[in-house]
């Protein structure tokens, strides 16, 4: 279904990622009081396995904030970071002491990460809604610390019935020579692309 997206349609989706993640990166940079770099968004139709490889493979432990986008163009959104990056974020934003055990987080740390993820995902989505003039609301975000495969597969179900690949908009951000690195994944439901293109005045064949 998405094999035939034209280059200009791909460019529009990249711009969607640029605007959403750009605002989220600005929000993060305010929280950190430091500039945050962002890579050019990648828009790809990827096999399910390849999607988990972006964040280190199916078994890699990651921290993910997940929220479902509801409204005119439903989809799934993930903010994914590695545990080591999360510890650095907590230290810099919340001033929390980093515990030695890398994969373990206290209740306080969970709570702070949840709130950071909430702010970032919320700013991504609200700027996207402004840009497209579509009604897009986030559900209450959930936080999970688990294997990337277990977490991300949940966001791919809408594609599961259609094939073995999903279209996602991936934006990577970095701060301080890769000290903090994370990804925003926007995975619109398959039928949402038409609505996004229509909202942005992009011709659909």
């Amino acid at each position: 279904m998405f094999e035939h997206l034209a280059d200009f349609q791909m460019d529009v989706l990249k711009e969607v990622g640029n605007i959403g993640a750009g605002n989220a990166a600005t929000a993060l940079s305010k929280l950190l009081d430091k500039p945050v770099d962002m890579q050019v968004p990648k828009v790809n139709l990827l096999p399910f396995e390849a999607i988990t490889n972006i964040v280190g493979g199916s078994e890699q432990v990651v921290i993910a904030i997940f929220l479902r986008v509801v409204g005119d163009a439903p989809g799934n959104m993930f903010f994914v970071i590695q545990p080591a990056s999360a510890k650095k974020l907590l230290e810099r934003i919340a001033g929390l002491e980093i515990e030695e055990e890398e994969d373990r987080f206290s209740e306080m740390e969970y709570s702070a990460l949840h709130e950071i993820g909430n702010i970032l995902a919320g700013s991504y989505l609200s700027s996207l809604a402004d840009f497209t003039k579509l009604s897009l609301q986030p559900t209450v975000p959930s936080l999970a610390v688990d294997m990337a495969g277990a977490i991300l597969s949940f966001g791919l179900m809408e594609y599961g019935a259609m094939g073995d690949r999903a279209l996602l908009i991936d934006t990577k951000f970095l701060e301080g020579q890769d000290a903090v690195e994370g990804h925003f994944f926007l995975i619109p439901d398959p039928e949402s692309f038409g609505k996004m293109f229509a909202a942005l005045g992009v011709p659909v064949e």
Binding site: T52, S58, A144, M147, A150, S153, F154, M162
Partner: protein, 165 residues
């Protein structure tokens, strides 16, 4: 670790192993890792099932049988039979079917994990294959490995102890 071969089973994939070695699939969340083992023929099979039924498929003629419980289990049985296994001797085990995110439990269509588990059980029952072990549900991911010589299923997760079924 041994030098025996490990067959990796990807998401929405299935694999069969004859003799020793192991079958492994990683990062099961709401997906179900279903395993079958014939202890006499020493034929083992594993499927990483993503969705409960192929009735929702919109893939057309290239349907990936390994993805849906109702097509993956018959396909797995068929392949194992071709390697010398008999359905009457098979025992089933499964793990996964978690509910990774709490809020999703409020929506029936999002309860994909429990529905995968229910569907696998119903299909095993149709074939008269006993379910000898199960580690399903919860809100965490699992990696599983089935040992070909014994049929033991090893389940690993991030914060739980290693389990053996």
């Amino acid at each position: 670790m041994t030098s025996l071969s490990t067959v990796k089973v990807g998401m929405a994939d299935l694999g069969v192993l004859v003799g020793a070695g192991s079958l492994k699939t990683t990062g099961l969340g709401s997906c179900v890792g279903l395993t079958l083992h014939d202890p006499v023929a020493r034929v083992s099979g594993m499927a990483h099932i993503m969705l409960p039924t192929s009735s929702i498929a919109r893939e057309g003629s290239n349907l990936n049988k390994a993805k849906y419980a109702d097509t993956a289990i018959p396909e797995l049985i068929d392949r194992m039979q071709k390697s010398g296994a008999m359905t009457s001797r098979m025992v089933g085990k499964m793990a996964g079917g978690a509910q990774m995110f709490a809020f999703a439990a409020t929506s029936e269509s999002m309860r994909i994990g429990p529905r995968n588990v229910e569907s696998c059980k119903a299909i095993l029952a149709e074939y008269g294959i006993p379910l000898k072990g199960e580690d399903t549900g919860g809100n965490y991911g699992r990696t599983i490995e089935l040992l070909g010589d014994t049929g033991i299923l090893i389940i690993r997760s991030v914060n739980q102890h290693i389990k053996e079924l």
